[in-house]
Symmetry: D2
Subunit: 138 residues, 4 copies
């Protein structure tokens, strides 16, 4: 089974991922990097009728994309140590694309950058996370 | 209408909040601070059968609690500028309590600390966010 | 040699700490927590004649206090993984006090909160850092 | 006076910048972006004889480079709201280069990315900061 197939299986096994309905668009172990697609759903709405993505949903998509870039390197699903998100502009009535690329992956930890873009390619939110890359407990 | 009633109405108007099923336990304009309750649901699960909260859901609950502490001061729902989360321990088979307290609220920005605790009071994740407290666009 | 004596020796061995002129006011292995004093010096000035601490100096003091709270637990000087700082108000014509307390120390990583206070006790900047608590390389 | 000349004058007016000995290598208002050079000095040392840059000095260089990218847009020196730094690898016996580029500059706030690189071009630390771009107090 390829890494992409393993990751799709991992994604399918999570009830919360199922709610988010994410799609794996690209996985590159050499980056390591991952690109996810996230389609707009009314359940993600900040205020009823606004068609604006709730910031908490954006945070979740960023966390997942970052973890998968670490996965692209290690082939295992590993926990987030910490996560930081800068919100740039509202995401309204748009599908999203999360581009996650590791700045560095070490023996214990990896640091990943995530750019969340709207349908026009503009950055909606920028994330940076630290992820475990080993399996010992923290 | 009291601020707590206004905030409950605001919470009820968001489809994503509805998914999260948050409950307002306390609002103190003097803090300003807010405490939310979040009940465990299978839809929040990281891996099927694990009963572990997905980190993305934790991020969303922290973002919302922080925004509401800013609301407790201003009486308005205002956007997140940036958000940082440190994951401390897995939250498994537990309801959660999010305690948000502003470190500072200025004319333009506020900084809020959020402690997310499990049913035993242990910190599951610690958040810190910067929120707008004025209504001009960023 | 007590941990406080070991830490004072560690502080004395660093040329940059010497520039900062920090003083160890308290070390509590049970926290673990550490309090440092930082006396105002003209060399820390943001703009000539402003008597305002440069934000970069505040960042350095916060980083060091956080690392020492991890030291208070482990008895060793260990590297910073990442650091976040929220600037609350200008620190002008004042000595400072850095109070660092670990939120959690695990086998691999620790998370530390640092409150930097002016002579009136007001928070000038709030820091949070992740530090290694084991000796393996990252 | 060009923006680069104004920025050099601003840099020269700060006693702490004088300690750091930073050099402006590039300023591009269109980015907006700024590149600074930082030459190794024994006073920056973490431990005596290690030739390793202290993480607190790296934090200061990143803060300054980020603020100057905001300056490259506005022509004014404006305060840091918050700052985050991920330490990637030790910087030992090397000069440094700080490349700061705004991800976004709005009417009130700007978000800036800073890559701190050693003499081989490897990333030593990655920073991201939020800076005021207006002159009202926070």
């Amino acid at each position: 089974m390829t890494d992409a197939a393993k990751l799709r299986a991992l994604m399918a096994s999570s009830p919360f991922h199922d709610f988010l309905g994410l799609e794996l668009l690209d996985l590159d172990p050499a980056g390591p990097s991952v690109t996810l697609g996230a389609k707009w759903r009314p359940g993600f709405e900040r205020e009823l009728g606004s068609k604006q993505w709730h910031g908490g949903v954006l945070a979740a998509v960023i966390d997942i994309a970052g973890a998968y870039a670490a996965f692209a390197k290690t082939g295992r699903g590993l926990p987030t140590v910490d996560l930081r998100i800068d919100y740039m502009r509202p995401a309204i009535d748009t599908d999203l694309r999360a581009e996650a690329k590791a700045l560095r992956t070490g023996r214990t930890l990896g640091t990943v950058d995530v750019a969340l873009r709207d349908k026009n390619g503009a950055i909606v939110a920028a994330g940076r996370g630290t992820y475990f890359t080993q399996t010992v407990s923290a």
